[in-house]
């Protein structure tokens, strides 16, 4: 009985091994049925695998987070540091671009007027608790800066040198309430005195009461003896409103200053000017309006009316 069972087992084993060898042979010979069996198996398994992915994804994420906790933390820290560096670099780049733009404009302005200038970087904004409008620049007497020199921005007059130190200088801005500058109206050459009001709007007092001024008139610096404190012909601002009140001794007007004092980072101190007056050569050009493209659509009616 036992020998019969052993013989049956042996026979079964031989049959199974032979079947296996047959399967291997058929597969190696490239029988399509066997290839199809594997494909069919995968087709059947796919929904289970998709379901498994859905079910296991939170667990996998959790396990992944746990196993990568240290690495993730350090990676986050590295990315934060890198991000901060890139942000700083970007800010520096933007700042440098803005400074370059200002510098180019200032040099262009000074070049057209024939001024000898030295560029300076604004290192400090004056505190406003004393109601003064000042800035500090990074060059001083060592660079040839003296009191009462004109300070230019890329738009025009920015201020005047108030105090000089060996390596820095204090600039009184055109917005400072104590700031006064002799100006003339471009074109008509009428003269007046402009005084700061603490903001970008300044006050103009015209000397001649018979002068006619109008909104939009451009003011240029009149210039001083030996070009100090002001060189001539530098744009200052334009008139925004005129006060024609009856009985006033002198005509007055509000002036919008060209210089954007809030974005002042580079200025130029005028060390010397050419003997010739630039006149109205530095009057800023009016911005050209950007043409807005229009699109014309032609609709041709259908020859046959539709319902």
């Amino acid at each position: 009985m036992r020998r019969g069972a052993e013989g049956r087992t042996r026979l079964l084993l031989i049959i199974l091994i032979v079947t296996s060898l047959l399967l291997i042979t058929l597969d190696l010979r490239g029988v399509a049925v066997l290839k199809g069996a594997r494909q069919a198996s995968q087709t059947i398994l796919s929904p289970f695998q998709r379901a498994g992915t859905v079910v296991l994804s939170p667990i996998k994420d959790f396990v992944s987070d746990i196993t990568r906790l240290g690495r993730t933390r350090s990676q986050i820290e590295n990315l934060r540091t890198e991000n901060a560096e890139l942000k700083s670099e970007l800010l520096n780049r933007l700042s440098a671009d803005a400074q370059l733009d200002q510098l180019k404009s200032i040099l262009d302005l000074a070049g057209r007027a024939g001024f000898k200038v030295i560029n300076a970087r604004v290192i400090s904004q004056g505190s406003s608790h004393s109601f003064a409008q000042t800035i500090t620049v990074d060059i001083g007497s060592k660079a040839g800066i003296k009191r009462n020199m004109t300070v230019l921005s890329k738009f025009g007059i920015a201020g005047v040198v108030k105090d000089v130190y060996p390596n820095s200088a204090l600039i009184s801005l055109a917005t400072d309430p104590s700031f006064r500058i002799g100006v003339r109206i471009a074109g008509s050459q009428q003269i007046g005195i402009l005084s700061g009001r603490g903001n970008r709007s300044a006050n103009l007092q015209l000397i001649d009461n018979l002068t006619t001024v109008k909104v939009g008139d451009i003011l240029l610096s009149r210039g001083s003896i030996s070009n100090r404190p002001f060189v001539p012909g530098v744009p200052v601002g334009y008139i925004t409103s005129v006060d024609n009140s009856a009985g006033a001794i002198a005509q007055s007007a509000s002036v919008y200053l060209y210089t954007d004092f809030a974005a002042l980072s580079i200025v130029a101190v005028v060390l010397g000017a050419s003997a010739s007056n630039p006149g109205d050569a530095l009057v800023p050009l009016k911005p050209k309006p950007t043409p807005i493209p229009t699109v014309t659509i032609y609709i041709t009616p259908s020859p046959t009316p539709t319902d």
Partner: protein, 173 residues
């Protein structure tokens, strides 16, 4: 009798195969992971008679051959599983202490798995299957051994009881 036992074992193997393919394979376990079907089939084979073990090995071998992760030709795992299942069944039935000794059981299963993998590599090399470099093979073999050693004691009580409940042949571990 055999037909009844096999008809009961087949759904279990298929369920484990689906579990392996759909869930266990989703985890990219380090060092190759483990094959639950392989472990269960060997446990089943140790607990069964050689006839049942051979048939169980054949079924599980076919299933393993049908897996997309199998790189060899269809029939390679079948051949190896039939042989290995039969062998461990003989070894298991020859050792009286094995059924009461989970450690020995684990050792036998793990050893069988390692030998099976080596046999798979050898036959694969003969059949022209690309299996990777020596370093990769060694790491995978060590990994599979460790994983099998860890997983076998965990699943052994479950499948031992399931086997005893289904076939009522040997005592549950």
């Amino acid at each position: 009798m055999i037909r009844r036992q096999i008809s009961t074992a087949v759904p279990i193997y298929i369920a484990i195969y689906i579990f392996q393919e759909a869930l266990i394979n989703q985890f990219r376990l380090p060092w190759g992971g483990f094959s639950l079907l392989l472990i269960v089939c060997l446990i089943w084979a140790i607990l069964s008679s050689p006839e049942i073990a051979a048939l169980g090995g054949f079924i599980s071998g076919v299933l393993m051959d049908l897996s997309q992760s199998s790189s060899g030709p269809i029939g390679q795992w079948t051949l190896l599983m039939v042989t290995a299942s039969c062998a461990v069944s003989y070894l298991g039935s020859g050792s009286e202490n094995l059924s009461d000794n989970p450690l020995g059981f684990t050792f036998l299963t793990t050893s069988a798995i390692v030998l099976l993998e080596i046999a798979y590599l050898t036959t694969g090399a003969l059949l022209g299957v690309t299996v990777g470099g020596l370093r990769h093979i060694l790491f995978t073999l060590i990994g599979i051994s460790i994983w099998s050693m860890l997983v076998t004691p965990l699943v052994l009580p479950i499948f031992s009881r399931l086997h005893a409940f289904t076939f009522d042949t040997r005592s549950a571990l």
